[in-house]
């Protein structure tokens, strides 16, 4: 697509701009969080238990959102927790997209028995509710971050596979692909140079949407103590910790809850914005 049009659409799409700015901000905050936080997020400090939020009364050196039941600074845990959430989501989305896209492309391009086997595999994966499978597998494998990433990849590659396959099947039969076949182009050339660029739009949109889903699922698993394990902070397990202090220290739940909401909202905005921006049907 015309770069100029793409750029003007980006500036015009409110969803895209808000999403992009927020995502950038969140990523920057999380990357530079070690330089921002003033407290050790993991070590208990029982004399500082359940301090009320000072907000920004004493800048970043105070307990901005107060402390939790073990005397740890909530703001510090929040920022460092974001690194786990974002890292896990990024790893899962990229690997799952890679695997799913390859399988989908192979399935769509070759068709026949290959397609049938891969598609039935997708059907089976889709037959078990994602989170239920993730819960069972995490319980069996034992909860740690590596297993968490594996489980989330296993439950999310199917989406990319299906989307890529369907797009490849459509593009494969398009005239311009037929034309290059007639001209004697190699299969790999057709696959990577002709077909792939035509399915990337959908993939980019799906990836940004899946980012949100992965962060939410990770939070649910961590909440159920089947994800990131304490004392390592993650937004999910922070919400679980804060449940019992809802009356006295609601910020124990509010801080990670709102962070979770804004982050996922940012990725959803970005996904919607990208769909508007990249929509080839829009004249």
């Amino acid at each position: 697509m015309d770069k100029k049009i793409l750029f003007s659409r980006m500036l015009k799409s409110k969803f895209f701009m808000v999403g992009a700015v927020l995502v950038l901000l969140i990523v920057l905050l999380s990357v530079f969080s070690p330089f921002i936080v003033q407290f050790d997020p993991v070590t208990n400090s029982l004399k500082d238990r359940l301090i009320s939020p000072e907000y920004f009364a004493s800048g970043l050196s105070g307990h901005v959102f107060g402390t939790d039941d073990l005397g740890r600074d909530i703001f510090s845990r929040l920022l460092l927790g974001s690194r786990y959430s974002l890292f896990i989501a990024a790893a899962v989305v990229l690997v799952a997209a890679f695997i799913g896209t390859i399988l989908g492309a192979v399935s769509g391009y070759f068709g026949g028995v290959t397609d049938m086997i891969i598609m039935r595999l997708c059907d089976i994966m889709m037959a078990i509710p994602n989170l239920v499978l993730a819960i069972a597998v995490m319980a069996i494998l034992g909860p740690n971050i590596f297993n968490l990433i594996i489980v989330l990849i296993v439950t999310s590659w199917v989406q990319y596979c299906k989307v890529t396959r369907n797009n490849v099947m459509v593009v494969k039969n398009a005239e311009f692909v037929k034309a290059s076949q007639v001209l004697g182009a190699k299969k790999t050339h057709i696959m990577f140079r002709q077909i792939f660029p035509n399915v990337t739009t959908q993939l980019i949109i799906l990836i940004s949407q899946q980012f949100g889903w992965t962060i939410l699922t990770e939070a649910s698993l961590s909440f159920l103590s089947l994800g990131v394990q304490p004392p390592t902070p993650s937004w999910g397990n922070m919400i679980a910790d804060g449940r019992n202090y809802l009356i006295t220290n609601p910020w124990m739940v509010f801080a990670p809850g709102i962070a979770l909401m804004i982050t996922v909202l940012a990725f959803n905005f970005l996904g919607d914005g990208l769909r508007d921006v990249l929509d080839p049907k829009k004249i």
């Binding site: 039935r120 059907d123 089976i124 889709m126 037959a127 078990i128 509710p129 994602n130 989170l131 239920v132 499978l133 819960i135 069972a136 597998v137 995490m138 319980a139 069996i140 034992g142 949100g212 939410l216 939070a219 649910s220 909440f223 159920l224 089947l226 999910g236 919400i239 679980a240 804060g242 449940r243 809802l246 009356i247 609601p250 739940v253 990670p256 809850g257 709102i258 979770l260 909401m261 804004i262 996922v264 909202l265 959803n268 905005f269 919607d272």
Partner: protein, 309 residues
């Protein structure tokens, strides 16, 4: 219509194949779990002979295929094994818990769809208006709400601050409201979005212009002629979301101490009650597959192209 019958039979066959594969996965997952199930049944420090005897009793001394066929044979006869923790047949446990979950999910789903389908359709047919904007925001927010955060937020607002509704438990209608909101909001959000974008796409079609050219008014086009087309992606997404929904029930039931199937799965996993985990996986997949099958059949009635090709 024979077309529809053929489609239903084909779909039924596919469901059975999928369930067969799921049963292998459920069985396999349990076998790769560390630890000896026989030791879990017995008290700590049980003598070696007792463990051996229990292995024989549980059939663990047999080769894996034999164990699998014993298990699946039992399942077909309605025997889902015995829970290690509860010491009662898994089947009884599941049948106790399922109705409790159905109560929550079915009613929530119906209310959700009654709100979100019209909302999505109206938003899509009035693109750019304040209604459209509000519906879009409602949907985006709903899709960004984590179930855990949503659950605790409504507890904070309605139980802690306002004191209107109980924060947990089961039995009265008051107990029902908060779990239903938590479970339903993300689904309503997604359906609203699908309805909106479906409607926007349909309204651009040639056949809608053709319908207007016949003198049909906007009201009838929106509620009848474009509505049916826009319903197709909604039904599909609802079918696909049933699984997410079931999974959401695990979290929601845990938060609100709702004694349903979701909580049973979570507890089974936590206590390593393997026969229970295995059968819960199978049952949830079966439920999901059956619901999906009905959704596909329903869709084939809305969209004649499905059965014809």
């Amino acid at each position: 219509m024979p077309n529809v019958m053929r489609f239903i039979l084909k779909r039924l066959g596919m469901t059975l194949v999928i369930l067969f594969c799921v049963s292998i996965i459920a069985f396999g997952l349990i076998r790769i779990a560390p630890g000896n199930p026989a030791m879990l049944v017995l008290p700590d420090g049980a003598p070696e002979e007792a463990i051996r005897a229990m292995e024989v009793k549980l059939g663990l001394d047999q080769p894996l295929p034999v164990q699998y066929f014993r298990y699946i044979g039992g399942v077909l006869k309605g025997d889902l094994g015995t829970s290690i923790i509860y010491k009662i047949p898994v089947k009884d446990l599941i049948f106790q818990r399922l109705p409790v979950t159905f109560q929550l999910t079915v009613i929530t789903m119906v209310v959700c769809l009654l709100i979100s389908i019209p909302l999505g359709i109206i938003a899509g047919s009035r693109q750019g208006t304040i209604i459209d904007f509000s519906a879009t925001m409602f949907a985006l927010l709903g899709q960004s709400m984590s179930t855990v955060w949503m659950g605790i937020l409504v507890i904070y607002i309605f139980s802690v601050k306002l004191g209107w509704l109980p924060s947990m438990g089961y039995g009265t209608w008051q107990n029902f409201v908060l779990p239903a909101i938590t479970l339903g909001y993300p689904v309503a959000a997604q359906v609203t979005r699908m309805g909106r974008s479906g409607m926007i796409d349909v309204l651009k079609e040639d056949y809608i212009t053709a319908t207007y050219a016949k003198g049909i008014g906007k009201a009838v086009v929106y509620t009848k002629y474009a509505f049916k087309n826009a319903l197709i992606p909604i039904v599909t997404i609802v079918g696909m979301q049933i699984g997410t929904y079931l999974a959401g029930a695990v979290v929601v039931e845990t938060i609100f101490a709702w004694p349903g199937f979701g909580q049973l799965i979570f507890q089974a996993v936590g206590t390593r009650d393997y026969p229970l985990v295995q059968s819960c996986l199978l049952v949830s997949a079966a439920l999901f597959a059956i619901v999906n099958m009905f959704v596909d059949i329903l869709n084939s009635f809305i969209d004649p192209r499905i059965t014809l090709h």
